[in-house]
């Protein structure tokens, strides 16, 4: 049994930019995998390489035992791709788009019509099926694009930022669809900039940054990699939050982090629950009032910060700008 994906020393350069730098990775089949990384991390480059659209400068990439450079056709027979920008024909209807892709996968006329109908239902596009895609909203286009990647019932589904630009309702539908596909035995490799998306959809997460793997594991493993639980407290105003931070800093452990927007202050707590009373007592002694105080596991945001030294800079409300 081959690993789903086996990358060894993958490098790819675009002009002076190194999109992938000696990336090595082994992913087993049978569980949805998320590639997580900020803008320019190399996510799209990696997905396009798996989809046989670009070739590595150095290194090898095997998909289910097939080399993407030496036997791209074998890889293409098993994949469905929904790239970062919707790859549909605007001047054709939704149904025509799906039938075309189904025919290209090798289905006969009747079969293609039937599988397109199934996808239209699955993607909630039946009412718009016979309208030109030009008249679709961004979310409908995205759903059609996802549908087109499914119409051949591929063994491996490659999704490059599948929910970017979707409203929360559509995003949930897409999430449900991806989970259904995964349950029915389709392998899924998706990329995302959204930590919560990776957390929700993937059983295994690979974090990449500047073309390298910086960490990988299950969401739980990654959270525990950063180690400590966090003590987080919430204050009524920003000055109070700053005073609380001073008190926590004076405890002489790790430096606390603050978020003025939510008036929250958090501190890594290596001692776990034993630290909590210490913090409460110190705040009490300094007469700093807090709204609430909790002990929790670190979020993936914090994991990312700890692993790369950078924030993720993700804002789920703003759509993707530089589609590379």
């Amino acid at each position: 049994m081959h690993a789903l994906i086996e990358a060894d020393g993958l490098s790819k350069q675009f002009g002076k930019v190194e999109a992938l730098t000696e990336l090595s990775l082994t992913l087993p089949a049978g569980q949805p995998v998320a590639i997580l990384g900020p803008n320019g991390a190399g996510k799209t480059t990696f997905i396009r390489m798996v989809a046989t659209l670009i070739q590595p400068d150095r290194g090898t990439l095997m998909v289910s035992g097939h080399d993407v450079v030496r036997d791209p056709m074998a890889v293409r027979r098993m994949i469905g791709l929904a790239g970062q920008s919707a790859a549909v024909e605007e001047m054709m209807t939704g149904r025509e788009n799906l039938v075309m892709v189904a025919r290209l996968y090798g289905q006969g006329r009747a079969e293609a019509v039937a599988s397109s109908e199934r996808i239209l239902e699955q993607m909630h596009l039946v009412d718009a099926a016979d309208r030109r895609v030009k008249t679709y909203s961004g979310g409908m286009r995205r759903r059609l694009d996802l549908g087109a990647s499914l119409v051949g019932s591929p063994r491996l589904l490659l999704l490059d930022e599948p929910t970017t630009g979707l409203d929360p309702g559509s995003r949930n539908e897409v999430w449900d669809g991806i989970r259904d596909m995964s349950r029915s035995g389709t392998d899924i490799l998706l990329t995302t900039q959204y930590l919560d998306e990776a957390d929700h959809l993937a059983a295994y997460i690979v974090i990449i940054d500047e073309g390298r793997v910086v960490a990988q594991g299950t969401p739980d493993e990654l959270k525990s990699r950063v180690g400590a639980d966090m003590v987080e407290l919430h204050t009524v105003d920003v000055p109070t939050m700053q005073r609380a931070a001073e008190v926590l800093g004076a405890l002489g452990m790790t430096a606390p982090s603050t978020d003025a927007a939510t008036r929250r202050c958090s501190l890594a707590a290596p001692g776990g629950s034993r630290l909590l009373p210490v913090v409460v007592r110190a705040l009490d002694d300094a007469a700093v009032p807090v709204e609430d105080i909790t002990l929790r596991r670190p979020t993936l945001d914090e994991v990312f910060l700890a692993l790369t030294g950078r924030n993720t800079d993700t804002d789920p409300t703003s759509p993707e700008e530089d589609a590379a």
Binding site: G30, L104, G106, A148, R183
Partner: protein
């Protein structure tokens, strides 16, 4: 830092019977891509109408503005001289759209999907070429009809004239391969449009509008030997009869053989180049 962690946790078993996609045959895939391109073009009527109207307008200008200054060339009336030249070089102006069209496809992401499917790369290109050639054929037929409307008459036999029409469309097909490659090489529709300006020297520095002998010496070398002149003169001989033979002083084969060599050469050179370019884009 690189890590190799293989999870040995077993995942859910794949359902049995999920077959791989065998992919469409070469012909079926080309047909699908051609149908898509034709639909796109036909459903953007402004594009076709504008292109056709432009051609008609230029034909009228040449016929009536220049036609006044050059009434006859030997025993040949200017309109009988002009229309073959105009229709043959018109394939360049019609075919030019293929370059920006294919660059557009590349930019829009649709080609990414097509390239990820189990079909041959060449079928994507031949599909595009087929559709663009159909548009060129449409343009050739419209221009020919307008040519007749402004006074063009066939001086030779009808089979010869029909052969001339077929050869013109065939030439258009050959040049579409070149434009497809240019579109793939350009990278963006704007750049493709820029590259297409190559058609101006190719169409005007030829025997299409005025006899090559009226050009300065240094230009004549290019004008005499370039592919447009070969096909323009072939079509002229096939449609013009004795008056053209007198004017050109050569039999049809003198121009037909190089024209056919150009046709084969263009496809032989640009088909592999286009596949190579598409593979690397």
């Amino acid at each position: 830092m690189t890590m190799d962690i293989t999870l040995d946790r077993p995942g859910p078993a794949r359902p049995v019977g999920v077959a791989e996609n065998q992919g469409a045959s070469y012909l079926c895939a080309s047909g699908q891509v051609a149908a898509r391109t034709l639909k796109k073009n036909v459903r953007t009527p402004a594009l076709i109408v504008a292109g056709t109207a432009q051609g008609v307008l230029f034909l009228l200008i040449f016929r009536y503005v220049f036609g006044g200054a050059v009434a006859h060339l030997g025993n040949l009336s200017y309109v009988d001289f002009l229309v073959p030249g105009f229709v043959v070089t018109g394939v360049l102006f019609q075919g030019m759209g293929a370059a920006s069209g294919v660059a557009d496809d590349l930019e829009g992401g649709l080609f990414d999907r097509l390239r990820s499917l189990p079909i041959r790369l060449l079928s994507i290109i031949t599909g595009r070429v087929g559709a663009d050639s159909a548009l060129v054929a449409w343009g050739v037929i419209v221009m020919t009809a307008v040519g007749f409307a402004v006074g063009f008459r066939v001086g030779g036999s009808t089979p010869d004239a029909l052969a001339a029409l077929g050869l013109t469309i065939l030439y258009g097909f050959a040049f579409v391969w070149m434009f497809i490659f240019m579109g793939l090489a350009a990278g963006s529709p704007q750049a493709a449009q820029g590259l297409s300006f190559l058609v101006f020297p190719l169409s005007f520095v030829s025997s299409a509008y005025v006899p090559v002998s009226t050009m300065p010496g240094w230009m004549q070398g290019f004008a005499t030997n370039q592919p447009m002149t070969q096909m323009v003169n072939t079509v002229r001989l096939l449609t013009g009869g004795p008056a053209v033979e007198q004017l050109l002083g050569h039999p049809v084969s003198y121009y037909l053989v190089p024209s056919l060599l150009w046709t084969v050469g263009l496809v032989a050179v640009f088909a592999p180049l286009a596949v190579w370019k598409l593979k690397r884009s």
